[in-house]
């Protein structure tokens, strides 16, 4: 099971994307637990728990550095690609997630 946390400012648009990713994962029979939260909640959760990956919406990309600090090397932090986010391309994002969590990232 992979645990992925996705954060944007209020967790609104991110939750749309996350729902799509969940469906995509079920279809592809990938064991994935993915959750959309607000930035503030994300910070608290990331401090307490361990994840396989923390994803940020592109609109809060400017906070990546501080999230990397929170993660403190326990898990990677990535920003979702703008185009994939805008078009809600769950398949592409899922592919990127798997690349990171399975350690095949270039």
């Amino acid at each position: 099971m992979y645990y992925v946390l996705v954060a944007c400012s209020a967790g609104m648009s991110t939750s749309m994307l996350v729902q799509k990713i969940e469906n995509e994962a079920v279809e592809k029979q990938i064991d994935l637990s993915i959750q959309a939260v607000s930035m503030n909640e994300g910070k608290t959760l990331a401090r307490k728990n361990n994840y396989d990956l923390l994803l940020l919406g592109p609109q809060v990309a400017f906070m990546k550095e501080s999230m990397v600090e929170v993660a403190a090397g326990r898990f990677p932090v990535r920003v979702i690609k703008q185009k994939d986010y805008g078009m809600m391309r769950a398949d592409n994002v899922l592919e990127d997630i798997l690349e990171v969590v399975e350690g095949n990232e270039e």
Binding site: S13, E65, Y85
Partner: protein, 434 residues
């Protein structure tokens, strides 16, 4: 042009980051977010009381006298907006303490104690049928505990928490309990001396202020800080500047609303709560610029008034990619969520669309301001969530003023007209993103 935008974004990213991470600003923002549900509940009952039950203006007012039932809403108002400042003191202190990895509950309780310590302990009341005011002790005035005392409550919470936590971190000030004492008991004793010192400090401060100036710190803060701050943010120019910066940030791909929230929100939330209180009291509504005002007239479809952009694209765009994204982004856009549009088109880092993105909200905000100050539409008096769909948001936030709903339709029309030429210009752009 694109290079300039990229450079600007590169330079603004760390600034935005610093800003969003500033501990005190974020605690204030989070403290407000925490109690929004209570404010919305209160707003709901005030709408019912004034729009439906009121014997004069209410929809049912002419039919049956239901004013008897207004008490339900009044009670809820006492429990929420009536003590808003106290609630805020707790939540802000709680969030600040948690950001230091400290116990939030004791810090929140301390902040409330500090705030009440600094409120006037004697209140002047003129009894009915009497000419002279009498001094009353042992009561709190809603002038101090409701929205009007917000800024003071925030300052009290931030200062109180800072002082308390600083003292608490000093090993020398902690009472050591023997090992046989349960840790939970020991923990509350470790806060004893810091709590003693914190409260004494603030009480002496108020005592001195009273002795020297003849009034408490609260009056000082409201004159020196709150009044100028509210004036800057709630004025037509002030809010226009904020909208400019907010949408400039958006055009660079930075969530402008999120970054600027901590600066503008306390004042804008305070403004709507003052309006709500005034409506409740049957007084003149004081403020034009409030949180729901900005949400209902300047951010339809999301930051940048992108509802107009979507309609303009559906009317005039010959680009297949634009039409596809818009169809897909339309439904979330109706709830003012526009990230799919911002990043899908994309609007961000798009030198052509950046211009209307910045202009449209400012133009519409000023039109709505003018319409309100001329009395063409009512002032906002209800707190609605920012995800309330356009037109409906204007109708609800003005307590059911249909003219406000019409105005928001007009504003959508204006936004379409401003966006149209830029959408047509985008038709001519070669599709570089693909």
């Amino acid at each position: 042009m694109n290079r300039i935008a990229n450079k600007l974004a590169e330079w603004l990213m760390p600034v935005a980051n610093k800003f969003s991470n500033q501990r005190h600003l974020s605690s204030v923002k989070e403290g407000f977010i925490t109690i929004i549900p209570l404010v919305i509940v209160a707003s709901f009952f005030i709408l019912i009381n004034n729009v439906i039950l009121d014997p004069e203006d209410g929809i049912l007012g002419g039919v049956v006298d239901l004013s008897y039932y207004k008490e339900i809403g009044d009670l809820i108002n006492n429990g929420t907006l009536g003590i808003l400042s106290i609630l805020i003191a707790f939540t802000v202190a709680y969030k600040l303490a948690v950001s230091y990895n400290e116990d939030g509950v004791i810090s929140g309780a301390m902040a409330v104690a500090v705030l009440i310590t600094m409120l006037p302990n004697v209140i002047q009341i003129t009894p009915e049928g009497s000419e002279e005011a009498v001094n009353v002790t042992g009561v709190f005035s809603q002038d101090d505990t409701s929205a009007t005392g917000l800024i003071f409550a925030i300052i009290a919470a931030l200062l109180g928490t800072e002082v308390f936590l600083r003292l608490k971190s000093k090993k020398k000030l902690q009472i050591k309990m023997p090992d046989s004492v349960p840790p939970a008991v020991g923990k509350s004793f470790s806060a004893l001396i810091p709590a003693f010192l914190t409260l004494t400090f603030f009480a002496i401060l108020v005592f001195l202020s009273n002795a020297l100036f003849g009034f408490g710190l609260q009056e000082l803060v409201s004159k020196l800080i709150q009044a100028p701050l509210d004036f800057a943010i709630q004025s037509e120019i002030g809010i226009s500047v904020i909208m400019f910066v907010q949408n400039l940030l958006w055009s660079l791909g930075i969530h402008g609303t999120f970054v600027l929230g901590p600066i503008k929100d306390p004042s804008l939330y305070g403004a709507i709560q003052e309006n709500i209180n005034a409506l409740q009291a049957g007084a003149d509504i004081p403020n034009i610029v409030t949180k729901p005002f900005v949400d209902s007239f300047a951010m339809l479809g999301g930051g940048g008034f992108t509802l107009g952009l979507m309609i303009a694209i559906l009317i005039a765009s010959r680009r297949k990619d634009y039409r596809e994204v818009t169809k897909f982004a339309f439904i979330p856009g109706l709830f003012n969520i526009n990230e799919p549009l911002m990043f899908g088109l994309p609007v961000i880092l798009n030198p052509i669309l950046a211009i209307p993105l910045i202009i449209v909200p400012i133009v519409n905000l000023n039109i709505a301001y003018l319409a309100t100050s001329l009395g063409l539409i009512s002032k906002t008096v209800a707190f609605i969530p920012w995800t309330t769909p356009p037109v409906l948001s204007a109708f609800l936030s003005t307590a059911g003023d249909w003219r406000a709903a019409v105005l928001s339709i007009i504003l959508i029309g204006i936004s379409v007209i401003i966006y149209l030429p830029f959408v047509m210009a985008a038709n001519k752009m070669t599709n570089i993103e693909h």
